[in-house]
């Protein structure tokens, strides 16, 4: 990784990272973010994450990036999964069990239908 010597270096790194991120969000690509704070993990976020990765592998899906994040403060609704399909607005789901995660992948990511009963109004 490059060492940063001044503000211009920082700006350059920032732009490169942004560019990389833009490629990821280019149309058709899907970003799945799982809340993995202590509260999320305690509520079963690891199982949810595993179910998502398994389903992607099993169904041989492509163009999906799965990342983690910390707690967003809605500890009550953990495990939380945020899904962004292409340039559509981000959808936040609460109480995502492995079962629900598979439904999200099938209905939302696969068929473009938001899983309404687990959606959190933000």
């Amino acid at each position: 990784m490059p060492t940063i010597k001044n503000l211009d270096d920082l700006k350059r790194i920032r732009e490169e990272a942004l560019e990389k991120k833009k490629l990821k969000t280019a149309s058709g690509n899907v970003q799945v973010v799982v809340g993995m704070g202590t509260c999320g993990i305690a509520a079963g976020a690891r199982e949810t994450m595993k179910a998502i990765l398994d389903a992607i592998e099993k169904d041989n899906l492509s163009g999906i990036s799965v990342t983690q994040t910390g707690c967003i403060g809605l500890c009550e609704r953990e495990p939380i999964v945020m899904v962004t399909v292409g340039e559509e607005p981000k959808v936040t789901y609460g109480k995502v069990t492995p079962e629900v995660a598979r439904r999200i992948l099938k209905d939302h990511v696969g068929a473009g239908k938001v899983v309404e009963d687990h959606k959190i109004a933000m």
Partner: protein, 553 residues
């Protein structure tokens, strides 16, 4: 508590009363009843909300529309149009000029509540905490670059002083002033410590920051080290926070690789190294001098103060100790300026506060809101009301050592000065919200049991006082106490507050004093009538389960 579809607040500060807020309140009650809305809309008085030019104010939630000045004759239109038909009465809205602080915040978000104002938690839950690139994309390390490139240490401190940031660990000490003390202290070697030993029961805001946005703490500590002239830093993370420790560890390695830590940061002569120290589960190590002892490898026992850590801290050297949330504010302030920071919160307590909501409420979790929001608003808007239709009895702010807030104080703006004026303390930001099924004596017993176990035992008032107070509370719950015991409890509390060496003992008596001040009748019922009004205490001598077994054997 019932669920209402709307909440109406009427300002009730002296100026508003002078201008007829009582009549407005009476008229509102009548009109709401006239339209048959009394079961759908809650109406309450709220104390000073800082908008004197338009007093008396009427605020309608969930739309967060602010009306003012409102006269009794406007009330009919307001109720008919807004509450009955659901249309905002534009002509009665408070003028937009000079909107600052909290009112500006509410106004900017009207119709979109519940929204939060996130400064500290800006990136938590948004970025990948394990990715330094993600942090940089969201303006990470820009403040550090600006500070090292353009500002002298004294400028950094003066900007922080101007911002009015106050310590978020509980005491509310001005952060800029503390930084100045350390920078002025004599000594070539200085240290910066981040107090992440978040051990107040019910508080988990720091964990959220550490797990969700670890680089913000690294950036803030590096800025702090530059400002005070330190070259070494420690993050003292609570032992139970293993995930936070792992993420912080990886974040430090990444930051070192990219040159945000280590030698010649940003191409300057400034060097700073950061280490993680894991706590071992002692509540007392959240006290800054005990924390310092613990880093030095000694038992976590607080030192006598003065001298303060700002001059004689870690290994006797000047040391800056700041809480996680305090530090998380620093990069944002330096990036956007002190004036920007002052646009949130109240004049004496600018900025936001992170609260952890827990207890008998519908939604538990973490919120970040501007300073000066009232407890009633937090319960109604963010916690979505009390659970199962119960009613609010009391809240405990700031974990075990915090104050007990009765329902009569739930309209006090939550900032450092308003709270200390009301004789309570804001503490670390935990809000334990209890309904009417909570027994105050039982609550106090649980708290004192905690203190009695966690007391380090260095000084007599704390070691013996917490034990005796626990014993007296136990006799009250067993129906064995006399009224004299209440006087003894108060005497114990005042001795604890006056004679203890550190914050643990000094605050251990606070809940006792508060409970006897606000809920004395309930405590006396335990003694005079031998009943527990909340139905929690058994009023029978407690037999230890093991003893029972032995008797049968």
């Amino acid at each position: 508590m019932k669920t209402y579809r709307a909440m109406v607040l009427v300002s009730n500060d002296p100026l508003s009363i002078e201008r007829g807020s009582q009549q407005v309140y009476t008229k509102l009650t009548e009109e709401i009843a006239a339209y048959g809305l009394q079961d759908e809309i809650s109406l309450s008085m709220v104390s000073d909300i800082g908008r004197h030019d338009a007093a008396p104010l009427v605020i309608v939630y969930p739309d967060a529309v602010i009306y003012g000045p409102i006269a009794p004759e406007n009330v009919h239109t307001l109720v008919e149009e807004h509450l009955y038909k659901g249309r905002v009465v534009a002509g009665l809205q408070a003028p937009l000029k000079e909107m600052t602080g909290r009112i500006a915040w509410l106004s900017a978000r009207k119709g979109t509540l519940p929204a939060e104002q996130r400064i500290v938690l800006e990136r938590a839950g948004l970025i990948d905490p394990e990715s330094i690139e993600d942090y940089i994309i969201h303006d990470g390390y820009a403040a550090l670059g600006k500070v090292l490139g353009e500002m002298k240490p004294a400028d950094v401190i003066s900007e922080l002083e101007k911002s009015g940031l106050r310590g978020r660990g509980g005491a509310g000490f001005p952060t800029g002033t503390k930084w100045k003390f350390v920078s002025k202290a004599d000594g070539a070697q200085k240290y910066v410590i981040c107090n992440a030993d978040e051990s107040e029961p019910g508080t988990f805001k720091d964990r959220l920051i550490l797990e969700g946005d670890p680089h913000s703490i690294i950036e803030a500590m590096t800025i702090a080290a530059y400002a005070v002239g330190a070259s070494e830093g420690y993050i003292y993370i609570r032992g139970e926070y293993t995930l936070a420790q792992e993420r912080m560890h990886r974040a430090i390695i990444k930051a070192e690789e990219m040159g945000f830590l280590g030698d010649q940061i940003f191409g300057t002569d400034f060097s700073f190294n950061l280490h993680i120290h894991s706590g071992a589960g002692a509540y007392i190590c959240g006290e800054e001098t005990a924390l310092i002892e613990s880093i030095e490898g000694k038992p976590g026992i607080p030192r006598a103060r003065p001298p303060f850590p700002t001059t004689h801290g870690l290994w006797g050297k000047p040391t800056l100790v700041n809480n996680v949330e305090t530090l998380a504010n620093v990069p944002a302030i330096l990036r956007r300026g002190a004036a920007w920071y002052h646009s949130f919160g109240t004049p004496s307590s600018p900025g936001t506060k992170v609260y952890t909501m827990l207890g008998n409420v519908n939604v538990t979790g973490v919120v970040e809101v501007p300073m000066g929001i009232t407890l009633r608003e937090i319960i109604a808007i963010y916690a979505k009301g009390m659970k199962k239709g119960s009613s609010f009895k009391l809240a405990q702010t700031g974990g075990s050592s915090g104050s007990v807030i009765p329902s009569s104080l739930q309209d006090t703006p939550m900032d450092f000065d308003s709270f200390s004026k009301a004789g309570v303390s804001l503490g670390s930001g935990a809000l334990l919200i209890c309904d009417e099924d909570t027994c105050v004596v039982d609550l106090a017993k649980v708290l004192l049991n905690f203190f009695r176990v966690e007391s380090c035992g260095k000084c007599n008032p704390c070691r013996i006082g917490t034990q005796r107070a626990f014993e007296i509370l136990t006799t009250i719950t067993e129906g064995q106490a006399t009224l004299n015991d209440l006087d003894t409890l108060l005497e114990l509390s005042s001795n604890l507050a006056m004679m203890s060496n550190c914050g643990l003992g000094q605050t251990a008596g606070t809940p006792l004093v508060d409970i006897l001040k606000y809920f004395r009748a309930e405590v006396e019922a335990h003694i005079r009538l031998k009943v527990c009004p909340a139905g929690v205490c058994t009023m029978k001598p407690h037999v230890h389960p093991e003893e029972k077994v032995h008797q049968h054997a």
